[in-house]
Structures are given as structure tokens and as C-alpha cells.
Symmetry: C2
């Protein structure tokens, strides 16, 4: 498999992206096309240590004249910068030169570029972003986490179909789908939720009903369906809360010598825990519903996150995710489920 990696994306610069590519190349049989300012990328490649040099046989560089800044308006940026690294990466997917595009750049622009360049899968009303959260049991897939801030009920139903397909990467046979709202009883929530409930309830999905925010991390559900506004807030609040909680705990520990000694003894356990909740372990957010594979990484992605995003793209390709989504939506339509 060959994929395109936006070398200019992310807050930490091209070197971190390239290191992520090398980590992925060490693990898997794949080739990576780095897309970006060729001169800058080649300068970074020259600095790669000797023992990693052989990996570069599976790396090539495609030049992109411009790059989209992290703070640019996404829609304007992709309209004006057609030769940007992110647009070029998706162009390579479109022409079939690579199977997937991965970027840690401007999320909105990555999203817009993916949808614009590749178009939607058959019967998909709205592509969206999924993300994977760790829970007490297994991972849970949440969709949408930011692509669609205003949704109609059919969009939520389709997010359930698409995220259920992603669950199969984690070998979940009949993913349990929950609708995120503010009370577990049927009929709780706003109008969007009430209508989406009835669509999900009549569908072929393994819909278990409404769930509340506190249920997400228990691991009793495999898929969480919500609109992109709510989903993005959930994602950010979760990130912020774990960081803040760990800081508060550390502050308390630093106040006492005994606690500090205790912390040193328990540090490996803290590290393992940290690894479990580190977003970098879960790579990026797949952009689902487009004709191709696209992964949107966190702007702050380190090389581990880039590696895991690349591996995520490989898994999606191997699973035949897009074929699954199309056949599941078609089966739903045959079953009388709502089209858009």
C-alpha cells in the first residue's frame, strides 16, 4: 500500500511528520509519498540518521507550491491554494497514485479538501469525522466529531452506519450503537435526537438506544452517534479534562515528600495509564464517507500519532471500509431505511 503524508501539516513542523513516517515504515510494508515544499522536505530527509536511511527507499517526495496555515479559513484556503500540500495529497488519492492521505494540518481544510477532491461515497449524505476513545473495556468510535455542526436526523443515522463499519477494525462483530443525549429514556433530548432515535431504532444497526455522556467511557457501547458540534466539544473537553486532572493530581503529590516517593514507585503504572489515554496512541480521526481514505490528525501530533494515523489508514484499506459503508447503506435502503 502507498499513501500520501502532508509534510507541511501540524504545529511541530516537517521533521516530526517525517519521523512518524519512518516509524510506520519500520513496522509495515508500505510506501509513503511526502507532499510539501520539496526543498524543505529534502533538507529534512538528509538529516535522517544512517541506520534509518534504508527506509527512505520506500519514500518519495511530491512538490507542493503552498501550504494551508493552521489559522486560515478552511474553505477559502482550499479554494485559493489548489496547489497546497493538502490538496495535492488528496489529488494523489484521486488519481490512484496512493490509497490514502494523512494530514496534521488545518483540520477544516483537510476535511474540505478530502470532500472536494474525492467526492462522497454512494448514498452518503454528509461525510464526517470519527474518533476513537479509550474506555474501561474496549475502544469506542464516536462520529461526528466536528465536520457537520448542523445536522439532520438522517445524517446521524448514517454516522451510525459509518462508525459501525469502523468498529470492525477492532473486531467488533455487532457494534452496539448509542445515541448521545441528555437522558437515557426514549424521547429525551432535542428534536434532532428524537427524530434520529426513530431512524436508528428502525435500522439494521445494533442500536441500543440513548446514552448519556457518562456512559461513553464505561465501554458498554461500541459506537457513539452525535452531531459534529456536540462531538467536537466532547472530544476537546475529554482532552482538556484528563490533562487538567493529571496536573491537579501531580500538584497534590508534589506537596508531600512521602507522596513523591510513592509516585516514583508507582511511576511505571502512571506511564502505562498515560499511554492508554494518550490520543497519540489512537492516531488521527478518519474522514468517513468520501471516495478514498483520509485521516485528519491533531495539530499537535507527535511522530507516534503520525505513525498510528498511517497504520489506521492501512487498516481501513485492508478492511475495505468504504466498500463496507456502501454495502451497509445500500442494504439499509433495501430494508426501507431513510435515504437522503
Amino acid at each position: 500500500m502507498k499513501l500520501a503524508l502532508d509534510a507541511m501539516g501540524g504545529d511541530l513542523g516537517p521533521r516530526v511528520i517525517i519521523d512518524g513516517a519512518l516509524l510506520a515504515l519500520e513496522r509495515d510494508e508500505l510506501s509513503i509519498t511526502l507532499v510539501g515544499d520539496e526543498e524543505v522536505v529534502r533538507q529534512h530527509l538528509e538529516q535522517i540518521p544512517g541506520k534509518q536511511k534504508p527506509l527512505l527507499e520506500r519514500v518519495d517526495v511530491v512538490h507542493a507550491q503552498t501550504a494551508v496555515g493552521m489559522d486560515e479559513n478552511p474553505v477559502d484556503a482550499i479554494r485559493k491554494k489548489r496547489d497546497s500540500s493538502i490538496m495535492t495529497a488528496f489529488e494523489l488519492v484521486k488519481t490512484g497514485e496512493v490509497s490514502a492521505a494523512v494530514s496534521a494540518g488545518n483540520s477544516g481544510a483537510t476535511l474540505a479538501a478530502g470532500v472536494r477532491k474525492l467526492g462522497r461515497l454512494k448514498n452518503v449524505a454528509r461525510p464526517g469525522l470519527a474518533t476513537v476513545f479509550p474506555t474501561l473495556k474496549g475502544p469506542v468510535v464516536m462520529m461526528d466529531v466536528g465536520a457537520n455542526v448542523e445536522c439532520r436526523p438522517v445524517h446521524l443515522y448514517q454516522f451510525g452506519v459509518m462508525a459501525s463499519a469502523v468498529s470492525r477494525i477492532y473486531h467488533v462483530e455487532k457494534p452496539r450503537v448509542g445515541l448521545l443525549t441528555i437522558g437515557e429514556e426514549t424521547g429525551k433530548g432535542n428534536n434532532l435526537i428524537k427524530e434520529a432515535y426513530s431512524l436508528l431504532d428502525r435500522s439494521r444497526l445494533n442500536f441500543i438506544g440513548n446514552i448519556e455522556g457518562r456512559d461513553i467511557f464505561k465501554g458498554d457501547v461500541d459506537v457513539v452517534v452525535c452531531d459534529g458540534f456536540v462531538g467536537n466539544i466532547c472530544l476537546k473537553i475529554s482532552e482538556g479534562l484528563v490533562v487538567a486532572a493529571m496536573k491537579m493530581l501531580r500538584e497534590e503529590i508534589l506537596k508531600s515528600t512521602l507522596a513523591k516517593i510513592g509516585y516514583l514507585l508507582a511511576r511505571p503504572a502512571f506511564k502505562k495509564f498515560g499511554k492508554k489515554v494518550d490520543y497519540a496512541e489512537y492516531g488521527g480521526a478518519p474522514l468517513l464517507g468520501i471516495k478514498g481514505i483520509g485521516i485528519v490528525c491533531h495539530g499537535k501530533s507527535n511522530s507516534l500519532a503520525i505513525k498510528n494515523a498511517v497504520i489506521g489508514a492501512i487498516e481501513m484499506e485492508q478492511l475495505g471500509l468504504n466498500e463496507l459503508i456502501e454495502s451497509d447503506l445500500a442494504a439499509g435502503l433495501e430494508n426501507g431505511e431513510k435515504g437522503f
Copy 2:
């Protein structure tokens, strides 16, 4: 000050509520009216240990024929059960016999009873629920966290006014108000957010602009404004995440003897941390915008949470919170801010 406490509310039964009342009575000069099935309440009061008996001089009981179940439909329940403990508690506020009502019963019913019995403060479009979160710096007040699942921009603006008034309990002079959305730049979010942004921006509030979920716990903002659907999900997700994260950490610690020893040494720090993030320390969620004081407690409230909710009600009374809200809204109207 005298307040009414719904003795029948909450998952843990009347004894926990009564113990909470006694904890509050030990701390403060106040009287408490326990509202509920008089026979049941008196049976519990008889079991109070001797040394706490003197506190009962400041306790009286008002009989209520029925109680609203935790799973009943709130609106139906308060319509049918006019003699329920929660309706009776707010009736006592209405007649002026007490200054505040506190309940850990059915949240929706408490909300509906408070609004129905007491009515809205002048110029308030929609009463709502606020909650207080611990952060790395001080507490942050979030509103609405569940009363209004569909909001108009003016509601969000008014939540900002009401929550800012609550901030003064924590001695914040010019509370920094943030609008919760999915990107910090102006114009990010759904239509509700875009319009609410312009109302907040033109207001007398110390509006600092859009904030994202991850900013809530940093402590760089004193007030977070959102609709009740988003706010309730944030509240529940935060609860669920801290519990899940602590369980994951404990699981890792239990895997190693050394880590277990370390944990024992650091346990006091863990406990202090636990106290910091324990919702019980923050009492209940004040129902703002009604002509009187109402506090909605978590169904799982222990006696510490009840005590803190009672103390919260006292602080709201002492601050003259409702007078503040009315005068702030009136000053806003004079300033050309939007009424409803």
C-alpha cells in the same frame, strides 16, 4: 435563614438527606424544614444520635402526601402530584416561609416545580441550571447544564448574565465569560453560537470570546455559556471521564506490588485530589432566573453534597443573587442589549 429540603428526593433515601441537613446545621445558623412523608421523616429523626439531637431544635417537618419518582416524566409528575414533596418545598418558598428549596429528587421535576411555582425574575426569558466545575485555578460556572435543550441566542446571552452573578460568590469581580463552541475564532460554530456571540460581544459582560472544551478546565475563564443540551452532555462526560480515568489508573497500579506500595504512600495526595474533583464538594446546581432560590442536587448526592447544596443556597441568599440578576439585566436593557 430558613430553607426547605426535599426529604424524599435522591437515590439514597431520606437518611442521607437528613444527615446532610445536620451537617449544614452544625456549620451555619439556619433552620431547615424537611418536606416529605411525615411518618417516614420522623422515624428517621428518632434514630439521630443523642449528641446531634440539639440540632433538631432548628428542624421542622412539613408533610407531603406524595413524592415524584426518579423515573417519572417531570412535567406530568408535577401536574398530577401537586402535593408532592418537591412541589410543597417550592410552595413554602412562594409563601415566604422559607428562602430556598433544595432537592436531590427528579431533576426535571425540581426544575419544572421551581419555575411553575415561583415564576421568572423580571426580564428573564428562560430560567436554567448552572453548575460549578473545579479547574486548575478557580471554580468555573457553566450555564445552562440541562434545563433548556433548544435555545435562542438571547437565552445564551442571559445565561452569561446570570452565571456571571453566581461568580461573585467566589469573589470574582469581573467574571470572564466564554462562549463554548468548536473553535476559538469568531464565526466558528453553528448559527446559534454565531448570533449569541454578537449579543455577548455587544453586552456589558466581560466577554472574552469563543472557548473550546479543552479550555474549561484550564481556569482561564470564570463563566462558560452554552445551551442546556451541550452543557448537560459536558457535565455528564466530565463525571464519567474522571471516574473512568481513575479506574484505569487503579487497574494499572494493582498490577504491580511496587506500584501498590507507591500508591499507599501517595494515598493522602490522591484523597486530596479526589476531594478537589468530587462533585459533592460543589453541592448542587442552582436553578437561576426564578423568583426565589432553588438547588437541584445530583440524584446520587451523599450527605456532604446535601450540606454543600444548602450552604450554596445560603451564599446565594446572602449575595442577593436574584437582585443582582435583575439589576444586571435591567442595566443591559438600558444599554441597548437585547430583551426577549
